[in-house]
């Protein structure tokens, strides 16, 4: 079991203890991990079965009746299969709930495309009112969940097998400034931070670290974006926050590079690290792309063909 998933069990057990409104609904995963919770809170911990659409509606019914549901299963089944239930039953009805996935992007590389989910953040961003949390470590999950689980809004937590080496003192809804510099502004999301830190070394760049993707903290970005050369580095489909950043830049001319999972089916198996290498997402690849955007002259006009190529 990954560090984040173990942390999810501990954090939820503590929350069940402290808040008698909390109800945990498992889609037939992590059942062994939660064995103590099943014993201790038999009325509020359910292995509901393998029926994701109904599970989300049932959770909405619980939320209507004063409980705080925490629904947990593998990302594609939670987000993609039950998408309309998240839209109608939670977002449209303005109900609070927590949706905690495992199997981010290609964490389960060897299980194939049915079990990959690099599209979760992008499709959930289409839902008005859905909050999206992408912790970069087990400790960060604990902080973020405790800050947000009872806020009365629907919140998605994307747990991953991939973790950053360090835990940062993150706040729900706020970006965390890792460092400030002048050559470029790098926006790193969740576990994508590690490769960015390994890539930048001593380069004089700003790194803004986001663990809440929605709502997007434009204020911190606007106040700390030190360069018109921007690199967006995300652990899911590339360019997820592109429109938010573009909007935050307003009329300031800027150039931006999107680093993330390309939009194609990853039909190989193996290990996640092998996919990183094949997709150009290693620290070395990222360093090359950072240098490229820093070293290239800034395009002067839209007709500047040499630069635009």
């Amino acid at each position: 079991m990954s560090m984040m998933r173990k942390q999810f069990v501990q954090t939820t057990e503590r929350a069940l203890e402290k808040n008698e409104k909390l109800a945990l609904v498992l889609g037939d995963i992590s059942v062994f991990g939660f064995r103590k919770a099943f014993e201790k809170f038999p009325d509020r911990v359910y292995n509901i079965g393998i029926l994701e659409q109904t599970t989300i509606s049932v959770a909405a019914g619980m939320a209507k009746t004063g409980l705080i549901p925490v629904v947990h299963t593998i990302a594609p089944f939670l987000v993609e299969r039950a998408f309309e239930q998240l839209k109608d039953d939670f977002c449209y009805q303005q109900l609070g709930g927590n949706f905690v996935s495992v199997g981010a992007s290609y964490d389960y590389a060897a299980l194939g495309c049915t079990h990959h989910c690099p599209g979760d953040v992008e499709i959930l961003r289409a839902l008005p009112g859905m909050e999206i949390v992408v912790p970069g470590s087990a400790g960060e999950f604990d902080m973020l969940f405790n800050q947000a689980f009872d806020n009365g809004r629907p919140t998605y937590y994307r747990l991953s097998e991939r973790e950053n080496a360090a835990t940062h003192p993150v706040q729900f809804g706020k970006a965390h400034i890792i460092k400030k510099g002048n050559e470029a502004t790098i926006v790193a999301v969740g576990p994508a931070l590690q490769a960015v830190l390994d890539a930048v070394g001593e380069r004089d760049v700003t790194i803004l670290y986001y663990t809440t993707v929605a709502p997007f903290d434009a204020e911190t970005f606007k106040a700390n974006c030190t360069s018109s050369r921007i690199i967006l580095c995300e652990p899911y489909y590339q360019g997820g926050l592109a429109s938010e950043i573009s909007e935050a830049m307003g009329r300031r001319p800027h150039t931006i590079d999107f680093i993330g999972v390309p939009k194609k089916f990853l039909t190989h198996y193996g290990k996640a690290e092998e996919h990183d290498a094949a997709l150009g997402l290693t620290a070395k690849d990222i360093r090359r792309r950072i240098e490229n955007i820093i070293d290239r002259p800034f395009p002067k006009t839209i007709q500047d063909k040499e630069i635009m190529q």
């Binding site: 509606s57 049932v58 959770a59 909405a60 019914g61 619980m62 209507k64 009746t65 039953d89």
Partner: protein, 254 residues
């Protein structure tokens, strides 16, 4: 019932919008629920100890609004605003707007599973409130209906009653056949009734059970207006002025 039918027909006429036959199909059931069964106070519609009713087939909203308005959950005159830009009363109910509407439904196969969640939560909270939901036979094509049926029986939610408005509208597409047998196979108690006989409806909804109960109500889509009954042309159409006049005469004559 004449008054309720009149409200529905006039609202659809004014709005140029509405699923009139579906509203007429469920009207007797809704009236018995709100008049005799549900423990709910229109002046305090969110009281935690109330019984709940979720209209899973949200397109029958006009029937729900006619009953809620008559029972003074909101001013009855508001129904004249049905379907208008600033109205609280839309083609499908919005729980954040309509007093007494327990869920925002419209996409089929959502309200029933939500009712299961409400029933489960009430059990968790040791509440004795009951949950009623109304689905259609067309809606019973949705897989989530049967997911929810499986789940409710597994947790023995005997505080849940699911009424099926069986007006056979899906016979032409994907027939759901003998629904009693299907619900029985899912370990529900089933009761078959004439969905326009209010004494039958009352009995079926007021008899307790050890298991979740499915009430299979045989109904007629467009009940009470001969040219509308089981006529697919009327599924989503509003009566014009002349039609309204003749329909009102017809319902008054009964």
């Amino acid at each position: 019932m004449v008054g309720l039918r009149k409200i529905i027909l006039e609202a659809a006429h004014h709005a140029g919008e509405g699923h009139v036959p579906s509203a007429l199909s469920v009207l007797d059931i809704l009236w018995v629920l709100y008049d005799k069964i549900l423990n709910i106070d229109p002046k305090n519609p969110n009281h935690p100890s109330r019984d709940r009713f979720i209209l899973s087939k949200g397109h029958a909203s006009l029937g729900l609004y006619a009953v809620l308005g008559t029972k003074e959950f909101f001013p009855l005159s508001e129904i004249r605003e049905f379907g208008k830009y600033n109205s609280r009363l839309g083609g499908h109910p919005d729980t954040t707007k309509v007093p007494g509407a327990e869920a925002s439904t419209g996409s089929l196969g959502h309200g029933f599973p939500m009712s299961v969640g409400v029933a489960l939560a009430l059990k968790i909270q040791k509440s004795s409130s009951k949950v009623f939901t109304l689905i259609g036979d067309g809606e019973s094509n949705e897989g989530s209906i049967w997911e929810a049926a499986l789940l409710a029986a597994h947790h023995r939610l005997n505080n849940l009653i699911c009424i099926v408005d069986y007006n056979h509208s899906t016979d032409r597409a994907l027939s759901v056949g003998k629904l009693e047998k299907k619900f029985e196979a899912f370990d529900w108690e089933t009761r078959s009734i004439n969905g326009h006989n209010q004494a039958d409806i009352f009995k079926a909804l007021s008899t307790p059970s050890e298991r979740p109960v499915a009430v299979i109500a045989e109904t007629i889509k467009g009940y009470g207006i001969k040219s509308m009954e089981n006529n697919p042309e009327w599924h989503h159409r509003s009566p014009k002025k002349e039609e309204l006049r003749s329909f009102l005469e017809e319902i008054r004559a009964v």
